[in-house]
Symmetry: C2
Subunit: 357 residues, 2 copies
């Protein structure tokens, strides 16, 4: 396979545990204020990039995730183009679910769709543990990527158990995730079995990425905003902690991100992460207040502003950075993933601006 | 047309402004604590009822809304069945949009879908004001309904301008409403024109219902949870206030409801309403705290619990009622609309329980 753009990266560096320790991203996640404000974008690898769209022609999404050459190249594309301070491994939160034998595909324009939703005790009892050998294409994709990235850190990621469970129970994307939220109350034992399986499956996926060389780990609980604090604390957080326990003892900082997470920010921090990702709904100074002023924050440029005139967007980015100073450290990012119709030159311009602030 | 169930209502009462003034609902909305805790359910008229599904066979949703005999009968069905303390007029928030000449249909399982999204300054400049004469089928549906309801109040309702604008700009339901949120920042003048039109169109729809006999009015801002407080206050709230100004001088209490509205509760109250509807994400005592302890609350049974065992649901309803005591008054409701697959006997049981609390 040919790299569509292949000039802009530093030469390959040997793998070494300390190779990214001095990077702005890792330093910020550890609570430091590096000279350069680190910036990356959720979903930076993907459809906003013409070189990605070209590379994906003829390949299904989950097949691309399981092809180490492709997943690595796609991960590197936005790092070359935007000169962001981190790559995030190109994959999907349902990849470990698929590798554990659950029938699921990513339907374009819709998201993950299961062959059949899992709704009963029997459905869930049939789930198989993930065979670690199945994660080999992930490990290989990460290894290739970090060799190319050199001193630029790679972020490994995984979906949190609740978000996975929402897809599994609903059978696909859903509004309010009411069937999943019903199950947690209607049949707590089945919920426990499902969430335990999800935690161990996604935890193994995250561990494989870190062992293969990722320098940080982000847990995405995309749908956490549908929960009350009480339900989150009692029926969700313990499983997120269990997922993260799979990387205990591996010395990488952890980020935890959710959409609409204003009510549960501190509880998300308390499952055992170093930094909390904040969407666009609350400003970072308010987020930091809710976190007791002692937690690193990531975010929170409103993706809706990416299509506003540059003067409006620039003022917003500067405001985000200014409010981020309320926290011990800040990693600049969007408040949600890059939309496919985003003009990628705008993202590059944000990186250039961030590196002057 | 035959009424499917037609026995359980009190005999028709003459229309009179004071006919529902002593009802538990109206008293609670005015800040009183009536002997009976008033209860009704958002989307109580609809697909959860077999008598509704029977009546709707062969009729499109928006055609049903514009047939006074049908809209009235559908509105009355849940009042007869559940003995709730209010009817809510059977309609849809896009009805006034359609009556103003915009091509829109309700697609089953999806929601309102426009013939073409409205995204440019020119699209929006072409919007026509709503001819008051077009509201005649609404007024007639309400008049028929209140004659049957007697001392039981009817709630009129309308969608808030932001929620309407989200449908208009996106062309249908959407996640995060990013195109609408982009427009408000990218082209504030066009946003102002769109929101002003939406406020006047939906305001006229609400006014027609109140003039025809509705005893209360609810403004639904379903998608308000996608907004930051800053955007809401600056770019949305003024238009919600404008919509409600259409019923200034008509002496009915006003309820304002949004989903995921924890960040904007007090700002929603401040557009000029008497009561605030709260979804399931925050408990009513916390909602009341955010409202300064001086605002009537409505809600907030979690719809996800409607399929839990009765003992779990009963404990939840009792907890909601107990926490609602933190507010000056409380109207019991769900935190969101009744799901179509809800067992309606559960709703009846909640009403029976509420009336003992």
């Amino acid at each position: 396979m040919q790299h569509v753009i292949s000039t802009a990266l530093p030469a390959a560096h040997p793998l070494a545990s300390g190779r990214t320790a001095q990077s702005p991203l890792v330093r910020a996640l550890r609570g430091d204020r590096p000279e350069t404000l680190p910036v990356w974008f959720m979903r930076q690898a993907g459809r906003s990039l013409p070189e990605y769209r070209e590379l994906r022609v003829g390949t299904q999404m989950l097949d691309a995730c399981l092809d180490p050459e492709l997943s690595s190249e796609i991960t590197l594309q936005p790092v070359r183009r935007h000169r962001v301070d981190a790559g995030i491994f190109f994959s999907d939160i349902v990849v470990p679910v698929k590798l554990a034998g659950v029938g699921v595909e990513i339907v374009p324009g819709r998201g993950p769709v299961l062959d059949a939703p899992l709704r009963t005790r029997d459905d869930i009892a049939r789930l198989e543990p993930l065979d670690p050998a199945a994660l080999q294409p992930i490990a290989e994709g990460v290894e290739r990527t970090v060799q190319e990235l050199g001193e630029t850190p790679l972020i490994g990621f995984a979906g949190a158990p609740f978000t996975l469970a929402a897809y599994l129970v609903e059978g696909g994307p859903s509004k309010d995730h009411i069937r999943a939220r019903t199950l947690m109350h209607a049949d707590p034992e089945t919920w426990d079995a499902l969430m335990t399986w999800a935690a161990d499956t996604t935890g193994a996926f995250l561990r494989a990425q870190v062992l293969a060389g990722a320098s940080a780990a982000q847990l995405f609980d995309s749908w956490v905003g549908s929960l009350s604090l009480s339900d989150y604390t009692r029926l969700v957080a313990p499983y997120s902690a269990r997922a993260l326990s799979h990387i205990d003892g591996l010395d990488v900082p952890r980020i935890h991100f959710g959409v609409g997470s204003g009510e549960v920010l501190a509880a998300m921090r308390d499952v055992g992460t170093d930094a909390v990702g904040v969407d666009w709904r609350i400003p970072l100074d308010e987020a930091s207040r809710r976190l007791g002023g002692r937690t690193v924050v990531q975010g929170n440029i409103d993706p809706a502003l990416l299509q506003a005139p540059w003067s409006v967007l620039e003022a917003h980015v500067r405001d985000v950075v200014e409010r981020g100073r309320a926290a011990p450290a800040h990693v600049l990012n969007l408040g949600h993933g890059v939309n496919p119709d985003t003009d990628p030159t705008v993202l590059t311009r944000i990186v250039e601006l961030a590196h002057t602030l």
